[in-house]
């Protein structure tokens, strides 16, 4: 076979991969759009579809129906937007860690970053008596500090994935103990407040939460796109990456900071909603079947998982509104079990 026909064959392979990436992206975007519409439509207060459209357009058209506008624009819309943004942020944090450390277990909700946020938040609620936005700031600080601590503890002439995962899991266990200790010192109403925060919830979604998170994403996403090219080389192992001339340590540190940023801002906004970071990347990759790294697809999966989980949390039981973390936790734990069993069989957890 000649080099020319080989080249056309290669172009064909690359095109089919690009087509698959685009189709998966498109399909996920459509599913997300449908879920978003459903999130605006479903609720105790019935609003017809036309009313929702009218309400969404009211800033432009000036047509106002105050009660409907309140339900759609002040309750359902901020909640759906926050679900999408936080889901996408968790997913990006997860897939960055999983890709860098080449381990599906290495997502921030498993290796202790989320536990750092939780411990800090519980400390703020129980010891400092804080509430509301102040707790979010505390959680953010806790996530960043924990991530830094894991990074430096794992450092030994560079950072190896396996050390980060092990130290992260140890860190998570230690922080869980801190949280338990704090609970033993707390009064009942504080425990209730702290528990509500720990499960993670969109029940108190305010437009302000989304604005902070969206602002952070506007900074973090371009940084991520700038750093991500070196992953083409880094996915092949550190030596191969250095041989190909990739800035390995710089990229790894930069991407970890970006990932911690995503995790910390999302956790500050909605609490440590479990498993969204963990499941989104592997789900996106299983849709892509090797056709790409799937960061964009994972972000959409994360948004979709969060939005659908919140819909289930709100409407699954007729009388109770569950926090979204209960749904993601239940589904995510099943996924973790499946992953451990599947990877145990093929022998590649790490």
């Amino acid at each position: 076979m000649s080099v020319v026909s080989d080249a056309s064959r290669i172009i064909a392979v690359r095109h089919s991969a690009a087509t698959r990436r685009r189709n998966v992206l498109l399909g996920l975007a459509l599913a997300l759009l449908a879920a978003f519409a459903l999130a605006l439509y479903l609720g105790d207060y019935p609003v017809p579809a036309s009313g929702i459209v009218q309400s969404l357009l009211s800033p432009v058209t000036g047509l106002a129906d105050r009660s409907v506008d309140f339900i759609v624009l002040q309750v359902r819309l901020p909640r759906a937007i926050l679900a999408v943004l936080s889901g996408a942020s968790f997913a990006l944090a997860g897939i960055i860690f999983q890709t860098l450390l080449r381990n599906p277990l290495a997502s921030p909700d498993i290796i202790g970053v989320a536990h750092g946020a939780s411990a800090a938040a519980v400390f703020c609620i129980i010891i400092l008596g804080w509430s509301g936005l102040a707790v979010s700031f505390g959680a953010f600080g806790g996530a960043v500090l924990t991530a830094l601590a894991i990074y430096f503890l794992a450092w030994r002439n560079g950072v190896t994935a396996f050390r980060v995962v092990l130290i992260g899991i140890g860190m998570a266990a230690m922080l869980a103990a801190v949280i338990s200790y704090l609970f033993t010192r707390a009064r009942l109403n504080e425990v209730q407040q702290a528990m509500a925060w720990l499960v993670g919830s969109l029940n108190a979604a305010r437009p302000g939460d989304s604005i902070v998170l969206a602002g952070a994403m506007l900074v973090l996403i371009p940084l991520m796109i700038g750093l991500v090219r070196a992953l083409d080389a880094m996915e092949l192992g550190d030596d191969t990456a250095r041989a190909l001339g990739a800035p390995v340590e710089l990229t790894r540190l930069g991407l970890m900071l970006v990932a911690v940023g995503f995790a910390a801002f999302a956790t500050a906004a909605v609490g440590p909603v479990g498993f969204v970071a963990f499941v989104s990347g592997p789900l996106a990759r299983s849709l892509l079947k090797g056709a790409g790294r799937g960061f964009a697809q994972a972000a959409l999966v994360g948004a979709l998982v969060m939005l659908v989980s919140d819909l289930l949390a709100q409407h699954l039981l007729p009388t109770v509104q569950l926090p979204v973390g209960v749904v993601t936790g239940a589904c995510g734990a099943l996924f973790l079990l499946w992953l451990l069993m599947a990877s145990g069989r093929s022998g590649r957890v790490n």
Partner: protein
């Protein structure tokens, strides 16, 4: 592409932490030739290769690429001249052969120069040279060991560098695949003027394929030169601590090592 790049080590010390592996080593790699580094386990041959490839920073001395200290050159620039295939590279899950080989184009791309037809041609040539074009759309995880190794070599070839360093590219391969890989490397040297350095375990294959052989022991070079001039029973004894007969390989007229061992010593004397 012609062999006009020069790689040499001068007074090179390499260490992992406190542990010194390579000491005061001088080595000039002959351009346009296949150099094979041999030695017993833990003699520092892979470490030397990593040092030459700028993957390990020397504690003393330096590696010079075209007269410039390689560790001070921009690593992207080095990557357009010098390609490396490390011992155990990692293939991402479910990656296709085309995608993996395309990763070799990394140093030629940049912020504003993404994938071009030139990259397609480079990948196609690399696949053709390694006889892997048929596998272009297959996932790497589904390939046999020999196919996979050829695909990795294709990845390094797609980098289109004059110099190519490979760390034990024949490990885990059946004998026929080992010969296949070494034939391929010889083609690259003879027909494309590449300069290739390989770390090998198999002494007989090393003798047959090397233009230049480098025998190492305890972090130093014991002997180097053409295998016919260098590989003697004394050298084998020194490097591997093993008595052996050195006979003429009936196929290639290169030295062939026949180990003796404890149980056959009497017969060997006869």
């Amino acid at each position: 592409m012609s062999a006009n790049h020069q790689l040499l080590a001068a007074g090179l010390d390499l260490a992992y932490g406190e542990r010194q592996i390579v000491s005061a080593l001088d080595l000039t790699l002959p351009p346009g030739k296949l150099t094979v580094i041999v030695g017993a386990n833990a003699c520092g041959k892979s470490t030397l290769l990593r040092g030459l490839a700028r993957l390990l920073t020397p504690t003393r001395g330096a590696v010079y690429l075209d007269g410039k200290p390689i560790h001070q050159m921009p690593t992207r620039q080095v990557a357009t001249i010098l390609g490396v295939l490390p011992q155990s590279p990692i293939a991402p899950d479910a990656i296709s052969v085309t995608d993996l080989v395309g990763r070799g184009r990394y140093p030629h791309q940049g912020w504003f120069r993404r994938w071009t037809p030139e990259d397609d041609t480079a990948v196609a040539e690399a696949l053709a040279a390694t006889d892997t074009a048929e596998l272009a759309d297959r996932p790497v995880d589904e390939l046999s060991g020999g196919q996979r190794q050829r695909v990795w070599i294709a990845m390094a070839l797609a980098q289109q560098t004059d110099l190519l360093l490979l760390d034990e590219p024949t490990t885990f391969l059946d004998i026929n695949h080992q010969v296949e890989v070494l034939d391929l490397l010889t083609d690259l040297v003879r027909h494309r003027g590449r300069t290739i350095v390989v770390v090998l375990h198999d002494l007989n294959l090393a003798c047959r394929y090397a233009d230049h052989i480098v025998a190492m022991k305890a972090g130093r070079i014991v002997a180097e030169g053409r295998p016919v001039d260098v590989v003697t029973e004394a050298v084998v004894k020194d490097v591997f601590g093993m008595t052996a007969r050195v006979v003429v390989d009936p196929v290639s007229n290169t030295p062939m090592i026949v180990p003796i061992g404890r149980h056959h010593a009497g017969k060997a004397m006869a």
